[in-house]
């Protein structure tokens, strides 16, 4: 305990033991921090490239699905059912945008409705929300929430089903993560559908087993589904055990900048209290710089575009 107190004192409080400057702010210690940050920066890049240990973004379909339904339920609306046909349509739309390098609801002669119909989902009413450049599922849904038109889509009472796609790719030379959300209500004669899909979703935790078994009893009605529809499992669900690189990098960045800010403030106060005069950089300037970066992290975290 004494050792811990002594170490913390050495790291944070200026005294004769650390040449009257918090040890964490010494040049040699800053070099150690830079070495650790370099390891983090390039290490996370390596993890991302392996595509085994890590994924770049923390946007998960199950989370998007959950947040969308929570948003609807907050408005007194029933939750949407997950449709793999709409998910197929969303995935094809995302791939089409990446292949043809556009970011729009309508592009290269295709409309969202073309993708939905091509997936075998005959709709009475349908809609689409797009997002790109977000790091976290919450940021995507918050972005849609803050836009009246996207919010209107999420809270439209007519919709019964929803499907998502999350895809990494380059748009206009910029590596990004695309999110496509497609809504729909089937034509009356085609309901109900997708019993096997819902069982798959239950297996990966997207819906409760009780819900899945309830739909299984209508298996005879599944004839309207296109061939191969049941094979689809969203990629992010398959990879749900992976480390999220951005979550890791964001948490460590916040912790590091927060630590520096605390050390600078403690050092400033203590140096004054002990009447220490020394030749160092201006702590006030460092505090402004680090505080700006911490605020900047918020913009980076929530910095995406919706359409």
């Amino acid at each position: 305990m004494l050792w811990l107190t002594s170490t913390l004192h050495h790291l944070f409080i200026p005294s004769h033991r650390n040449n009257f400057r918090a040890k964490l702010l010494h040049l040699d210690f800053l070099i150690v921090l830079i070495a650790a940050a370099t390891l983090l920066s390039f290490g996370t890049g390596w993890l991302e490239k392996t595509e085994i240990l890590g994924i770049a973004q923390d946007i998960r379909i199950e989370k998007l699905f959950q947040l969308t339904n929570e948003a609807r339920q907050s408005q007194g609306l029933p939750p949407l059912h997950y449709s793999n046909q709409l998910a197929h349509a969303a995935e094809n739309k995302a791939q089409h945008m990446i292949t043809n390098n556009y970011w729009a609801h309508f592009g290269s002669g295709r409309s969202p409705w073309d993708f939905i119909l091509a997936s075998g989902y005959s709709y009475e009413v349908a809609g689409e929300n797009l997002a790109k450049g977000f790091m976290f599922s919450e940021g995507v849904v918050d972005g849609w929430r803050n836009s009246s038109t996207h919010w209107a889509n999420i809270t439209k009472a007519e919709y019964d089903d929803v499907g998502f796609a999350v895809m990494n790719g380059a748009l206009e030379g910029e590596e990004t993560t695309l999110v496509v959300q497609m809504f729909g209500k089937r034509l009356a004669q085609e309901q109900p559908v997708e019993p096997k899909d819902e069982k798959q979703l239950a297996d990966v935790g997207l819906i409760k087993p009780a819900q899945a078994s309830g739909v299984e009893s209508t298996a005879a009605a599944s004839a309207v589904q296109p061939k191969g529809e049941n094979d689809f499992v969203p990629a992010t669900i398959k990879n749900s055990w992976q480390i999220s690189i951005n979550t890791l990098a964001f948490s460590l960045s916040t912790a590091l900048f927060g630590l520096l800010l605390v050390v600078l403030l403690v050092d400033l106060v203590m140096a004054h209290r002990f009447g220490i005069v020394r030749l160092t950089g201006k702590n006030i300037a460092h505090v402004i710089f680090i505080a700006t970066l911490i605020i900047g992290l918020y913009f980076i975290k929530n910095g995406g575009l919706i359409l």
């Binding site: 921090l33 920066s41 450049g133 520096l260 605020i295 913009f299």
Partner: protein, 95 residues
């Protein structure tokens, strides 16, 4: 008689003595945040904005201490190392 002024006064004295320089630093910080917001969803542009801000911060530090007649190699290294640390950390998120 030796008097000890409060830390608030000490900080205020420093800010008053270099009001224009701190105003420039604060303004550049606001502009940096504005660009981060404008370049939402474009991490490579956000990284360029970060690089410019870090470079400005290092130049600001050297200029400030030169005008303050307190420039020392150790201080130059301090600004460079803190700037480099910020760049490397944000690289993990933006590149």
């Amino acid at each position: 008689m030796l008097t000890k002024r409060s830390i608030t006064h000490k900080v205020k004295d420093d800010l008053h003595a270099h009001v224009l320089e701190y105003l420039l630093l604060f303004t550049s910080a606001m502009i940096f945040l504005l660009f981060l917001s404008l370049f939402r969803g474009q991490p490579s542009k956000q990284f360029i904005a970060t690089s410019v801000f870090v470079l400005y911060y290092i130049v600001w530090g050297i200029t400030h201490h030169t005008r303050d007649q307190s420039l020392h190699l150790k201080i130059v290294f301090e600004y460079i190392l803190i700037g480099a640390l910020a760049m490397i950390v944000l690289r993990a998120l933006l590149v």
